[in-house]
């Protein structure tokens, strides 16, 4: 309760400032609607928003799951093989110089207007942070643990599985926490470029029809979802690490 109180106070302050801005600057609703009006629209259009939010949530969750799996496997592969590191790492670093946003139209061209171009976008945007956070942690296994394992006669694969991977899980978890914030950005960009469903699409649509209150309602739902996703991933990671630690 005591943890929620400051958050509630902070939210109330933000809403108060928002309302004050609208009233004091005498902003018309098609420029900036007040919080009450947005709340009203949110409730009135709940079916519409829920439908579109469901699509975005699916895109983000599938992208996140794929990113976690692919990023995790890539990091292990890179950590296990010096040859892979020499060949693939420069490619990965170079790929980061390409603005991911610029790829969105191409992905839409290749994968169509449906879910997959957005999933691919979310995946692209989180793949590097997940891989590199996990990879860095895999390369920083305490030397004493590696020495111990080697003296005990562990082959590299077992050393990886029993020592390097578990020791690097906190790094993997911090990559996933970042990914939880980035993945919705990817999905929304994908929707802006070409979609017929999703919160990003709804926002563009509302904007085009000067329904700014609907746009804000969709934006708030998106922000709340991102926040919940981050909290959920954070909690899941923590629980997982504790379980790992206890088992």
């Amino acid at each position: 309760m005591s943890r929620l109180l400051p958050i509630a106070a902070s939210a109330a302050l933000a809403l108060g400032l928002w309302q004050a801005l609208v009233v004091l600057a005498a902003l018309p609703p098609f420029i900036l609607p007040g919080p009450a009006r947005v709340a009203e629209t949110l409730w009135a259009s709940r079916a519409l928003i829920t439908e579109h939010a469901g699509i975005t949530v699916a895109e983000v969750l599938i992208g996140l799951a794929l990113g976690a799996v692919l990023g995790g496997l890539s990091a292990i592969g890179l950590a296990a093989s010096p040859a892979a590191r020499r060949l693939i790492r420069p490619m990965m670093v170079f790929s980061q110089a390409i603005p991911v946003f610029a790829l969105a139209p191409i992905l839409t061209l290749w994968l169509g207007y449906g879910l997959w171009s957005k999933i691919a976008m979310a995946l692209l945007i989180i793949y590097f942070p997940v891989t590199s956070a996990f990879f860095d942690a895999l390369m920083r296994t305490p030397q004493a643990m590696l020495d111990m394992g080697r003296v005990m006669g562990a082959r590299p694969a077992r050393l990886m599985w029993h020592i390097r991977v578990p020791a690097a899980l906190p790094g993997f978890a911090s990559g996933l926490r970042l990914a939880a914030v980035y993945a919705p950005i990817g999905a929304i960009i994908g929707e802006w470029v070409g979609a017929s469903k999703g919160l990003g699409y709804l926002m563009l649509l509302a904007n085009g029809r000067a329904k700014i209150d609907l746009m804000f309602a969709a934006l708030i739902v998106l922000a709340v979802f991102t926040l919940l996703l981050h909290m959920g991933v954070d909690r899941a990671c923590r629980r997982w690490l504790d379980g790992k630690a206890a088992g």
């Binding site: 004493a144 643990m145 020495d147 394992g149 080697r150 003296v151 050393l159 020592i163 088992g247």
Partner: protein
């Protein structure tokens, strides 16, 4: 207990990145005895230990490490360092039986339980390392070493992080449980060498200097006058070498 542990001979010189580290020298590690290696920091004591263990990848070692029975050395060695290499995500039982899992074999839990009992860890079997004191962690490291059951045991400053009382206790516990194995102990602590060493050597940039150990059986009491005298002699020599380098 392994049957008839071999003696070791380490003979050669070591260089790191073209710079000489130590040697040429010859270190004899007697079978079923504790050999202590003292020396100023940076002289290559730990490197020497890692060379014996076969895990050093950066040092150029010109020479050989041989066992008196002609068998291989690597594969018959257990390493015991400070408790820092315990895996924090495994409990005490998991850490003690780690070796079997790393080799893909089934851990012998009955034997592990027996070793935990002998090292006074029965009540801590399900605890994780971060819930243990420094002395308890060191006992886990000892239990893990005993679980490996190798004829040759290498100890790398295992007790340096412990307070004086716990350290003395761990020295006695380790000496008792490692008796009958060929032990090479690297330490900074002259008293530790004087208490535990059947043979004591100081490694310096010039080579090895051998110091006669006290006559009393190992582990020697902390207040044994001859042990304390040897401690003093070792400290004086270490200081002389420290000043020279």
């Amino acid at each position: 207990m392994p049957a008839a542990p071999p003696a070791l001979v380490i003979d050669g010189s070591a260089r790191i990145g073209g710079l000489p580290l130590f040697g040429p020298l010859r270190l004899d590690v007697a079978a079923a005895r504790i050999t202590c290696l003292l020396g100023p920091s940076g002289v290559g004591k730990t490197t020497l230990l890692r060379l014996v263990a076969g895990i050093d990848e950066v040092t150029h070692f010109d020479g050989h490490v041989t066992a008196s029975d002609g068998g291989p050395v690597t594969g018959r060695v257990a390493l015991m360092a400070q408790g820092a290499d315990l895996l924090p995500w495994l409990d005490v039982m998991g850490n003690v039986t780690l070796g079997a899992r790393l080799r893909g074999t089934r851990p012998d839990r009955d034997r592990a339980r027996d070793i935990l009992a002998r090292t006074g860890l029965t009540d801590h079997a399900r605890k994780r390392p971060d819930a243990l004191s420094g002395g308890q962690r060191q006992r886990v490291a000892l239990a893990r070493t005993l679980m490996e059951d190798r004829p040759i045991v290498l100890l790398d400053e295992p007790f340096s992080a412990l307070d004086a009382g716990t350290r003395a206790q761990m020295q006695e516990l380790s000496a008792r449980h490692l008796a009958g194995r060929t032990v090479l102990l690297v330490t900074h602590d002259p008293l530790e060498a004087a208490r535990l060493g059947h043979a004591i050597h100081i490694l310096t940039a010039e080579g090895l200097e051998t110091v006669a150990p006290p006559a009393a059986p190992v582990p020697r009491p902390v207040d044994d006058p001859e042990t304390l005298a040897v401690q003093g002699r070792l400290l004086a020599k270490l200081r002389a070498h420290g000043a020279a380098t």
